[in-house]
């Protein structure tokens, strides 16, 4: 979908966060100089068109006491669809990207308990038949937050 100037303002503004007030959309709309109904209508459209993949609280798996890791599989190209479907069937697979490399499936596992990561990796290896490259974060370096459009 083509974004107009108003859509861009909304995408930029809403990446920074919605306030915790009774009528948060009205507050943001006023800031942007549009009406609340228009903001809601455009936001709905941005989500339907997948310009935004999600809107709402962004939860931090590790601070919830859960487990989080980045993992990869090296799968023959012909089997990519099939293995990816098996992988995506696990609810703990939060993101899954195809990448151009010998390791061609890269996915994030987010689990409710840290201990579940090892079990889940074993289950993925059983289900797909391929060894998982498990690359949990050791340290995160600070980066700026948002994507200007």
């Amino acid at each position: 979908m083509a974004l107009d100037a108003c859509d861009r303002l909304i995408v930029n503004r809403l990446q920074r966060g919605l306030p915790l007030v009774d009528e948060p959309y009205a507050e943001v709309a006023a800031e942007l100089g549009i009406g609340e109904a228009e903001l809601l209508r455009r936001l709905q459209r941005l989500l339907e068109a997948r310009v935004l993949s999600r809107f709402g609280p962004m939860y931090h798996a590790e601070r919830l006491g859960g487990g989080l890791t980045l993992a990869a599989l090296a799968v023959p190209e012909a089997e990519l669809e099939h293995v990816s479907a098996k992988l995506n069937a696990f609810p703990e697979v939060a993101h899954n990207y195809a990448r151009a490399h010998r390791y061609n499936l890269w996915f994030v596992l987010a689990t409710e308990t840290p201990g579940r990561i090892a079990e889940l990796i074993a289950a993925i290896e059983r289900e797909t038949g391929y060894p998982v490259l498990n690359l949990p974060k050791i340290e995160e370096f600070f980066v700026g937050l948002h994507f200007e459009v």
Binding site: V11, P24, L47, R50, R54, F55, R63, L135, I138, E140
Partner: protein
């Protein structure tokens, strides 16, 4: 840690926040809580970093950032923090992590996600990073994403 009510709030919002004028009221009604309690609990989870933000997550492909390269670097372990901080400070880098090597399959210990409107733009950014790292760059690769196969964010199992 979170209690059972926080957990219900997370389950009710992990697919997203309602697009209605009073979304926190809608949530309160759905869960049988007062709106004050909903806001207080969300505020507490924001404060503790359990919720990073209540915000829009862009699909960078749809925004024209069609070249998304995961750049991976083999840098000396004792230099990892200096390198990570230098990369994180660059505008083109959206995430930067130290991750373990898995020899012999995987030699890279520093990951930096680089976004651009074309592969040429990403490659120019990666060349600039290599120049910045100098001798600390003992090898690097760019893994371009070709498709998003799933992007749902965190999901707690069950209801």
């Amino acid at each position: 840690m979170i209690d059972a009510t926080d957990r219900r709030l997370i389950l009710a919002t992990q697919a997203g926040l309602a697009l209605v004028p009073r979304p926190y009221h809608a949530l309160a009604e759905q869960l049988g809580l007062s709106v004050e309690e909903v806001k207080a609990r969300l505020a507490a989870m924001l404060e503790r970093g359990i919720i990073r933000r209540i915000a829009a997550v862009p699909n960078h492909y749809a925004l024209g950032y069609t070249a998304n390269g995961m750049s991976v670097w083999d840098v000396p372990d004792e230099r990892i923090r200096a390198c990570g901080e230098a990369l994180g400070a660059l505008a083109c880098v959206s995430h930067c992590y130290h991750r373990p090597r898995r020899l012999p399959e995987w030699r890279y210990n520093l990951f930096a996600m680089v976004h651009g409107r074309s592969r040429a733009e990403v490659e120019a950014q990666v060349a600039a990073i290599a120049a910045l790292l100098g001798a600390d760059d003992r090898g690097h690769a760019i893994l371009y994403s070709t498709r998003i196969l799933k992007k749902t964010g965190l999901r707690l199992a069950g209801g």
